[in-house]
């Protein structure tokens, strides 16, 4: 149980994914030293400090992640480092004590998650990332909830990418296997046709062949001008396709560089990529 006195574990979903009432107390700060390579980035979570709940300990310490237009940025790091927390912070789901989030030059630190969706951000959380009682097709439709145009073709594209989903389009997503669910989750986010896509471990539990497909697709998506910020534990494959890589350790930036650069770094390989 978190420190929240109003909450009860039983029957509750992860209460930390969202912050429905919008914001807590935020002090907007302009860059603190990491500005050099993030200055013109499309999405920046700049010098973020904060944690869960109103009074929980800080998980992030002056942490910065950013991605340029049409590029892929990958966050790696040990379990519990705060990768997911950084993603949630960027999406406005927890109270930042310090730092700011900017999208395309605009400060969006004060926006609710829904408002960020409207601004063109898409997110696939690490867990609880599908509507289990709804059919696969309805899951995808919900991904396109804010779209007013016809999304039939996008859906076809998703089905082409993950053929198994086409077969199971009318099955409740909760009945799918672990890897199939993951495909639904990514499919849902793709339906949004966002400007920037945040993916928290999209390949966890998917088979090698699907993982390759997925990475391929991510590259294609990025090439259409959409920025991708993702957390990955299949770090070597991910860093290979990454334009930029961040290594987070204990809520702070430990290493930053190009994907190739990090892959080449002996220390990074050994401590975080499994040798």
């Amino acid at each position: 149980m978190s420190g929240n006195p109003y909450q009860d574990d039983r029957g509750n979903k992860d209460a930390t994914i969202t912050n429905p009432s919008g914001r807590g107390e935020i002090e907007v700060s302009t860059g603190t030293g990491h500005g050099s390579h993030t200055a013109e980035a499309f999405l920046i979570g700049d010098s973020m400090t904060g944690g869960y709940g109103k009074s929980g300990p800080d998980i992030l310490h002056d942490c910065t992640v950013a991605v340029n237009k049409g590029e892929i940025a990958v966050i790696v790091g040990p379990n519990g480092a705060g990768k997911s927390t950084a993603m949630k912070a960027t999406f406005g789901m927890l109270n930042l004590r310090q730092g700011s989030v900017r999208l395309d030059g605009e400060d969006i630190t004060g926006l609710t998650p829904q408002a960020r969706v409207v601004k063109g951000m898409g997110f696939v959380p690490q867990t609880h990332n599908i509507f289990t009682s709804m059919s696969v097709q309805e899951n995808l439709e919900m991904g396109a909830f804010i779209r007013t145009d016809n999304f039939k073709t996008t859906m076809e594209q998703v089905f082409d990418l993950f053929p198994i989903l086409r077969d199971k389009r009318n099955q409740p997503a909760g009945e799918l296997s672990g890897g199939q669910r993951q495909q639904v989750a990514v499919g849902r986010a793709l339906m949004t046709q966002p400007k920037v896509l945040l993916l928290d471990e999209p390949t966890a539990g998917v088979s090698p062949i699907v993982m390759d497909e997925l990475f391929d697709r991510i590259i294609e998506v990025a090439r259409t001008g959409i920025s991708i910020l993702m957390v990955e534990q299949n770090a070597r494959q991910a860093l290979e396709i990454a334009d930029k890589g961040y290594v987070l350790v204990q809520g702070a930036n430990a290493h930053t560089g190009t994907g190739k650069g990090l892959l080449a770094d002996e220390e990074v390989r050994k401590s975080f990529l499994g040798g």
Partner: protein, 260 residues
């Protein structure tokens, strides 16, 4: 050790497990791979007594264990971990371990009122044992944290730790690796190997990370569409055309275009 005969598990008309037969040799670490939806987790769930089979038999050491409830299987030495960690979230990590051993006298109500002394003694021993396991898994520092609030990888280690609190015969691990940092994962691999060698546990491991499989597993079984597709050493499997087509694939197509 475990023999699965012609096992079927259908959901409505859908055959998730469709006549799978396999043998697990005692003392082995068997890898179970296969595309998403191949029926691996379903197979596990049927063996572990969570789902009743549609038809077929599971035999352990010559005894038919088909459809026995999980808690009875536990007492026969068959343990399992979950694909998604099933920790006891409101209890501390140490308590998560201490609750495992069977036959604790403190689980009998009568003793909680009139056998306090015996309980205290047992608890001391249990605590020592739990600390030992935590030490072994290099997570002593989280002993007193609530299990619900530790990170994903630590939960996975805790799952593994629970199997170490008793003398298991065979342990089923469902994707210990998904979401776990690779460096840590290979530490876990070493732990599994160690348990296998030192304590003689038999393991069956579902995993999508080929490197992990390669480090510890022999033999490897590949499932597809509810059936066993291929069986052999990892190298044999990797060379199998069907397995490549259904499961392994041939790598990234767009790789060369990155950064172009």
């Amino acid at each position: 050790m475990i023999e699965v005969h012609e096992l079927h598990r259908h959901f409505g008309g859908f055959r998730a497990v469709d006549g799978a037969s396999l043998k697990i040799a005692p003392g082995s670490i068997t890898g179970l791979i296969g595309p998403n939806g191949a029926g691996k987790s379903t197979l596990f769930n049927v063996i572990a007594g969570v789902l009743p089979p549609t038809s077929g038999r599971v035999v352990m050491d010559g005894e038919d264990i088909t459809g026995l409830p999980p808690h009875e299987l536990f007492h026969k030495g068959l343990l399992r971990t979950f694909q998604i960690a099933h920790e006891f979230g409101s209890m501390t990590c140490r308590e998560n371990l201490m609750m495992v051993p069977a036959g604790q006298s403190g689980e009998q109500l009568w003793n909680t009122w009139f056998g306090r002394k015996r309980i205290a003694d047992e608890e001391r021993a249990l605590r020592a044992k739990a600390d030992e396991v935590l030490e072994f898994l290099t997570i002593s520092h989280i002993a007193d944290l609530r299990a619900g609030e530790v990170s994903g990888g630590q939960k996975k280690l805790l799952e593994l730790g629970r199997t170490m609190m008793v003398d298991a015969k065979i342990v089923f691990l469902d994707e210990v690796g998904a979401g776990v940092n690779r460096t840590l994962l290979y530490t876990i691999a070493d732990a599994i190997k160690q348990l296998n060698e030192e304590r003689g546990y038999t393991f069956v491991v579902i995993e999508h990370d080929m490197e992990f499989i390669g480090r510890i597993c022999d033999p490897v079984i590949c499932m597809a569409e509810g059936k066993v597709l291929a069986e052999g050493t990892l190298d044999e499997i990797k060379a199998n055309e069907q397995v490549i087509e259904a499961y392994l694939g041939t790598g990234l197509k767009n790789k060369d275009k990155v950064g172009a």
